[in-house]
Symmetry: C2
Subunit: 233 residues, 2 copies
Amino acid sequence: MTDFTSHLTGPLPPAHPQGFAVAKRISASTIRRLSFYLRSLERLRARGATTVSSEQLAEDGGTTGAQVRKDLSQFGSFGKRGTGYDVGALSEHLRGILGLHRRWRVLLVGAGRIGAALFEYPNFSQRGYDCVAIVDNDPDKVGRRWGTIPIQSADRMECIIEAEDIDLVILAVPGEVAQSVAERAVSAGALGLMNFAPTQLRRPATDVPVAEVNLVMELEALSFAIMRGGRPA
Amino acid sequence: MTDFTSHLTGPLPPAHPQGFAVAKRISASTIRRLSFYLRSLERLRARGATTVSSEQLAEDGGTTGAQVRKDLSQFGSFGKRGTGYDVGALSEHLRGILGLHRRWRVLLVGAGRIGAALFEYPNFSQRGYDCVAIVDNDPDKVGRRWGTIPIQSADRMECIIEAEDIDLVILAVPGEVAQSVAERAVSAGALGLMNFAPTQLRRPATDVPVAEVNLVMELEALSFAIMRGGRPA
DNA sequence: TCCTGTGAAACGGTTCACAGCC
DNA sequence: GGCTGTGAACCGTTTCACAGGA
């Protein structure tokens, strides 16, 4: 199984201001897998399972028991030898690690098709990500509402980020403006960005994590994979 | 710079049927970078540059000259010592490597919000990915048209894949049905899948590459990164 | 001199194997 | 006996450093 890599370009190592033991660097792949384990656990819980072994958790994630144990061991000892992990307790631990014990306030920049799709995406609010504001630079769109949320002028972005206490900014804008919107968002105090423009952002001076969702790159990797060694036909 | 990984789970190593020298395995990160270099080259070309050094190419991609040279050297020797790479020639090489010298026929499964956003996404057809058919299982949608493309019944998927000679299938469907749609698409002859459902697909028996675009996972990785070592506030 | 192409070293993530606890 | 937690071995990727051609 090949695993093509991506996307989330994050901040430099934690470098704690005080001389505390610097938290061990956690690899990107570990985080993705944690997110996956959490989903598996939730399915298990729904089915009434109360306990699960590392091997079972690995099962439909395409990984191994050893990997699951290594991943989890970076955050603590959550299992019982001879028994496995408690489904409910482990879920809660993972939710805490992934930051799902709080809700996140999201600003959507760009009220086009992609913006609309994301705004309606039910999994976001289920998981604690609330779109609390929308901006667009098209005067025809400004003033309309999506549900209860008004579309405001993109000029007001900085002020909205501060007033609404925005954590995350989703960039659903054309590639040409993505970089400048990103920089404005970061200076106004955004803690993280998710970029759908097909332009990889150059890191703004203030280093915040950026999740790059580059659909074209994804398709190119797909056609590459098909051409070499993919199904002969 | 952290680089969170993802997404494209591909076929097993090439294993050429004849006993040819098996093509060297190319890492997923290399492919992503190639895709990125291509975009940089196109910008350079638009600006009239005719030659570029590995260091310059690395510049706004957050990587190094050495990495660029290693990546490219896996496919051949495209540069001139003392000079650098010819912008036009290297672009063409990369386009060939990434499979952009042909067009790809795409079936969109799911005519909801996400489907609509992808259908309209201009970068797809610019890059050679043509959405030539749409299916949905909602009878209200079947029969409508998006541009010139009619939305057909999801029952007809297999038959469309064969008749329309579909290469890639984009799954913009709810998580619960993603797995079964994926399996049907693969048995009908799809060469690759792109999955937007927040469910990681278990590999169907017939192994085809799958690009997983898991937006929730992306957000979770983002909030994780913010919580550790992200901006203090 | 400048910049590529590439072996060799360094690094980091995954797998292995087993000691330790239930 | 079963399963976790973890040091050690392994392996792939990135970085280094330099030989060699324009």
